[in-house]
């Protein structure tokens, strides 16, 4: 390898973009793993089209994968790419406007054919017409070189060209001084059964690397140092996998089988896929005929004493909402996961949004409260899943867990937890013996949690009936008594309020009081945290807080908010948390909203914060 200058960078954001068929998700994931493996902190954002396969070369067919890797803690995949890899004109067209000025642009020159240019809406070839002078443009004949490389291995044109993403990857490895070995091992593992493919892809990877080494253009190697991560064993983790694992672990901690009843829907399906693979851990998945059946089966499984979970996205929650009311009335523990996507209606199904909060908290007929939790990052999904199960079981209530498309698919390094450190979950089934001489009152409650007695079918002597009609306060028999109805509505509400007694402390980052608190929930955590850190590094005394508990709120939330002059609430919706906070506390909050199917950029939050701080001063 030729000697090169080395330039240290704190962090770099790369976006790989190409046709859906170009394997950009794979390329991005490989780059991410390698970066993580050598100690960077990483965060990723896959962004693929709604269509399974749009026509090759077309604009809707563009698939992208963004990764930020850094020598410091990072919380987002980066606001804008420093580097864009564009495998064809459509990828360039769709992504160029986001590349930072002066950013590096690697294009597959070979793909800039007349017909591809036309598909992408280019009149002129941008590689030729001087329109890219603001960027450091590297035109690379990726297809040609790849084909040349693999031809000796006996590969045909079509198959051969498929290897070009490994060529691009190799080239980027060279530029950012990353080792090839982890990827070579992965290729071996993945394609081991077809030695041809192993050989060809490895050759392409190396060819890319060598191309960088050979061509003059890349004299400088950019280096991003290891991040200061807590010591331990790490793996890469995305939100859906973490949710699935959290559920399995919770079930094991409860000593009960896990039941997952679901109907496929983007972006929640991967939870079903993963859990279906884990029958070996006693997981029973049930692909129902629709979301209503998924919810009904989950209630049935809960009635039977399993750890009962269902997962879907917003339209599915709509369909489940009647049955969720039944679960509330029956006071049985279960978890409903909503991996949110862009709405309303079918909306933007492959894009992210946080617009189902109202639905989760208030979207049912009658007075039907239940706890609502949100996970803020891929790894947080694991913890939230376990907390949701624990809460559901302890308080005998359905619990909604909100995730979203952004964290569901985004990956980040995850410090693998020691499962032994996780507290067991007590199911606390009522038994005839446990009851002694007392009569069996199915709706008698624990004084501290207000959880009702719970006996499961199979337990002799505790036969009883539950259902959706209003129940008597103690016996659970149907009751039309007006006072009893009011009392039951109140006790169900009070029970849900009591889940807050188990919340951990609120963790504000930054000053304990001051001019501004940035308050968020769910996946905007990443951008909010980075914004807070960046501003504090610049001496701006903002604080930031991401809340997990959307209903009921943390008991200290109001006092915390009131310690700041202003509260900024960034959300990927039109201000739903703001609304809930205003209604609850009569507190003025500043809402920063975005509904573009895309996560916040750090800079958007910083800008808004600065603006608020300056009007603050002006007053």
């Amino acid at each position: 390898m030729a000697q090169r200058d080395v330039q240290e960078l704190k962090s770099v954001t790369i976006r790989f973009a190409g046709d859906s068929g170009d394997g950009m998700q794979l390329t991005g994931n490989r780059f991410t793993d390698t970066a993580a493996l050598i100690g960077n902190d990483v965060a990723t954002f896959p962004d693929y089209p709604a269509e399974i396969r749009a026509p090759a070369g077309s604009l809707p067919g563009v698939s992208g994968f963004q990764v930020q890797f850094s020598s410091r803690d990072i919380y987002t995949p980066g606001d804008a790419p420093d580097v864009l890899v564009a495998m064809n004109p459509a990828a360039l067209q769709r992504n160029l406007k986001e590349l930072v000025p002066g950013g590096a642009l690697f294009v597959n020159e070979d793909a800039f054919t007349k017909s591809n240019l036309k598909l992408a809406g280019y009149e002129e070839n941008p590689l030729e017409d001087g329109s890219l002078t603001d960027y450091r443009l590297f035109k690379v004949p990726m297809s040609t070189i790849t084909l040349e490389t693999v031809k000796p291995l006996g590969m045909g044109k079509k198959e051969g060209e498929r290897c070009k993403n490994f060529f691009a990857l190799g080239l980027l490895y060279f530029v950012y001084d990353r080792p090839l070995e982890p990827t070579m091992e992965w290729i071996e593992g993945k394609f081991g059964k077809s030695p041809d493919l192993v050989e060809a892809n490895t050759a392409a990877l190396k060819a890319g690397y060598n191309y960088g080494d050979t061509i003059e253009a890349f004299q400088t190697a950019y280096k991003v140092d290891k991040a200061q991560l807590a010591p331990g064993t790490y793996r890469s983790m995305n939100g859906n996998l973490a949710t699935a694992y959290g559920m399995i672990v919770a079930a094991q901690k409860a000593g009960r089988p896990l039941f997952y009843g679901s109907y496929p829907i983007t972006p929640a399906s991967d939870i079903l896929h993963e859990l279906s693979r884990q029958r070996g851990f006693g997981v029973k998945t049930f692909q129902a005929e629709d979301e209503i059946a998924a919810m009904g089966s989950t209630i049935g499984a809960a009635f039977g004493g399993a750890i009962a979970v269902t997962g879907t996205s917003g339209p599915g929650v709509a369909l489940k909402s009647e049955a969720i009311g039944l679960a509330i009335m029956a006071e049985l523990p279960m978890v409903i996961v909503n991996v949110q996507r862009g709405g309303p209606s079918t909306g933007l199904p492959t894009k992210t949004e946080q617009a189902d909060l109202f639905q989760a908290v208030l979207g049912r007929n009658g007075e039907a409260p239940l706890p609502v939790l949100a996970s803020r990052s891929p790894d947080d999904c694991f913890d939230v899943a376990i907390e949701a199960v624990r809460m559901a079981v302890k308080y005998r209530t359905p619990v909604i867990m909100l995730s979203d498309g952004y964290i569901a698919n985004g990956a980040e390094p995850w410090l693998v937890p020691d499962l032994d450190t996780i507290e067991p979950i007590e199911m606390d089934f009522l038994t005839r013996e446990g009851l002694g001489d007392e009569p069996h009152l199915p709706y008698k409650r624990d004084e501290q949690t207000l959880a009702r007695n719970w006996a499961i079918p199979g337990e002799p002597g505790l036969e009883h009936r539950v259902g959706g009609l209003e129940k008597d306060y103690l016996t659970g028999n149907v009751s039309y008594d007006p006072e009893n109805h009011e009392r039951m509505i109140q006790v169900r509400a009070e029970k849900v309020q009591r889940v807050a007694q188990d919340y951990g402390p609120l963790q504000v980052q930054g000053p304990d009081s001051g001019p501004l608190l940035i308050l968020g929930w769910g996946s905007s955590y990443g951008a909010i945290t980075s914004a807070g850190e960046f501003m504090r590094e610049d001496g701006i005394p903002v604080a930031n807080l991401s809340i997990r508990h959307l209903f009921p709120f943390h008991r200290e939330l109001e006092a915390t908010m009131r310690r700041y002059d202003k509260v900024l609430v960034p959300e990927l919706n039109c201000g739903q948390l703001s609304h809930l906070l205003r209604a609850e506390y009569l507190i003025e909050v500043e809402s920063l909203t975005k509904v573009r199917g895309l996560p916040f950029k750090v800079v958007e939050i910083i800008e808004k914060s600065k603006q608020l701080l300056s009007t603050e001063k002006a007053v």
């Binding site: 049930f286 032994d420 079918p457 002799p460």
Partner: protein, 341 residues
């Protein structure tokens, strides 16, 4: 159903299955008779009380679980089968009974009907067909006859009705039967038979709603004419009916017709022998109806197929043994880790 019998249950009696809740159907409702027959039959199944679960939707019929002293769930309209499916997935040893109505099971619950039946969960489904919406006071149901005047169809229903038995056969159920609410001998025998079938058993019961659809079945079920207007299917037996059991069903090709044995050259051998293992025959026979034919009751279909919950359990067992000593910690850690510090 799938029940383990033990000594303790042998002494159960009808009374053990009477709950402390007052029965609140209209006086004279056919639901009473069905309740009584089921309560009478349950003790003989050898299933411990605590392993019995009754799940229903919403409707007059769906109040049923309250009256039976077992575990019970009065769920929401149309969804009883979904709860039963989930329950069976997690505890296959329970004997689960689903009680539903023609509206609950076939209108709003039609999709779950179709899918639960084809999956062959080991459930006992009893559909009380009164051809009307009782609880909501008299609208047309999917089994109401075309032309029927109800509150929601004052000029007569224009929907072509569903035949529940036919729908169940087409939904690939493994046991399909039909009975009459006040047929005090036949109904309990059907209940017992379905209980012993492993896999889904679906029983349609013609049930009189004396308030909103009184006498809906009398044109064939009236005791005076019953033997002429109904035919009891008996697997392996010729399809005979009539006061003197001298009438029979004869097939011309695929066209059934009624013939009198000994007349027109028809002998007993010509009478169709019922075979409950043939879905095509069951489907054909399900088309027999008043007034051209006697109305068939009894077992239409009785075939074997592995149950959903057994197949699910098999997969779990296979996967568990394949997992070996891989721990959950191993799974969570995965194979692609790196270490910091």
């Amino acid at each position: 159903m799938n029940a383990s019998s033990d000594g303790a249950t042998a002494q159960l009696t009808r009374k053990d299955f009477v709950s402390d809740q007052e029965v609140r159907w209209c006086p004279g409702c056919g639901d009473y008779a069905i309740l009584a027959q089921i309560q009478k039959t349950l003790p003989s199944l050898g299933v411990p009380k605590e392993n019995l679960v009754v799940i229903s939707g919403i409707g007059c019929s769906s109040r049923f679980p309250y009256y039976v002293d077992t575990y019970g769930f009065h769920s929401i309209h149309g969804r009883a089968m979904t709860l039963a499916s989930g329950l069976k997935c997690v505890n296959k040893d329970l004997s689960v009974w689903v009680i539903t109505g023609d509206g609950d099971g076939l209108s709003i619950g039609g999709n779950h009907f179709l899918h639960t039946l084809r999956r062959n969960f080991d459930l006992n489904v009893v559909l009380f067909n009164n051809r009307i919406y009782g609880l909501t006071k008299g609208q047309a149901s999917p089994t109401s006859e075309q032309g029927k005047v109800t509150k929601s169809t004052p000029m007569g229903a224009i929907d072509h009705p569903i035949n529940p038995v036919r729908a169940a056969i087409a939904a690939e159920a493994t046991w399909v039967g039909r009975a009459l609410d006040n047929d005090t001998k036949h109904l309990p025998s059907m209940i017992e038979t379905m209980a012993h079938h492993k896999g889904i058993s679906f029983l349609e019961v013609f049930q009189n709603c004396n308030i909103f659809n009184n006498g809906a079945f009398l044109h064939f079920s009236d005791r005076k004419i019953r033997s002429e207007k109904m035919i009891y299917l008996q697997p392996g037996q010729p399809m005979l009916f009539g006061e003197n059991r001298d009438k029979g069903i004869v097939l011309d090709g695929l066209k059934p017709r009624v013939a009198t044995v000994g007349e027109g050259g028809v002998s007993l051998d010509d009478v169709l022998v019922y075979d409950a293992s043939d879905p095509s025959l069951a489907y054909l026979v399900s088309s027999l109806d008043y007034p051209d034919f006697p109305v068939p009751v009894g077992v239409f279909l009785d075939i074997e197929r592995e149950t959903y919950e057994d197949l699910l359990e098999d997969q779990v067992e296979k996967a568990e043994s394949k997992r070996g000593d891989m721990s959950l910690q191993d799974l969570v850690r995965g194979t692609n880790t790196w270490t910091v510090g």
